[in-house]
Symmetry: C2
Subunit: 147 residues, 2 copies
């Protein structure tokens, strides 16, 4: 059972930004922190921008940071948006499942998927960067914990 690689990276990006918030970062720096290829990370950042979760400001003091929407979104909301509404098994592939119009498994799996998202609805980005995670994130870029 797997989330997409894009969702995985997107969650790491918003966690990194939340750990240093409101200080901005860059996609390059986060790629280095997370040891992932820059071009993969840049695509994910573009996706998060389209979702209104992060923004880039140019000039002195600029960079990549969370928007107010990003700061207040639940992890459940982010994962729902990133994963989309697809089935967890392939009902409608190149060879559609012959049961797909009358399938009690499909509806049971949809309820289970909703239970997965609902569990994450209870979690905020602030929860994710509470100790011990936040200080570890700050240590990755050599920044002392604030406060």
């Amino acid at each position: 059972m797997r989330l997409t690689k894009a969702t995985d990276l997107a969650l790491r990006v918003v966690m990194s930004l939340a750990a240093t918030d409101p200080e901005p970062s860059t996609a390059r720096r986060i790629a280095d922190e997370m040891r992932v290829p820059y071009n993969h990370l840049a695509k994910v950042v573009a996706r998060l921008q389209r979702m209104g979760v992060v923004e880039t400001r140019r000039g002195r003091g600029g960079g990549l940071s969370l928007t107010d929407t990003g700061r207040t979104a639940s992890v459940g909301r982010l994962v729902r948006d990133l994963e989309g509404a697809g089935d967890v098994v392939e009902c409608e592939g190149d060879v559609p499942c012959p049961l797909r119009q009358a399938c009690r498994l499909r509806s049971a799996l949809r309820r289970a998927q909703e239970a997965f998202f609902a569990s994450l609805d209870e979690v905020t980005l602030a929860d994710l960067v509470a100790p011990p995670t936040g200080p570890v994130l700050l240590g990755l870029v050599g920044r002392p914990p604030s406060g």
Copy 2:
């Protein structure tokens, strides 16, 4: 968010067997019903045999059928066993995530995964082959609904 292809096929196999239970079937027949390659399906059947969920009996009146364990297992139990205990994101891949020892996201995702399985713990194979699904399954192999 996806279950593995093997889990997907395994669930279709046990649903097909449950629809005609206790009349046995064969891997070949189920592969035809589900329009999937026989060699993929045979691997999945071998896995279900090792799990004690299905059994093959030779000779007249023989074939592939559910075991008592298979008949009474919840869908949650089957999916847990088929999917294993891995993370839904890649924490320990070729380039392990630097946060993996102190990650609040990882524990939040594990709770969400458990909520997914727990939702399916409420569902039995008998639930999955209740109408309308069971009759559609029987129609795929040209067998009239029993009872």
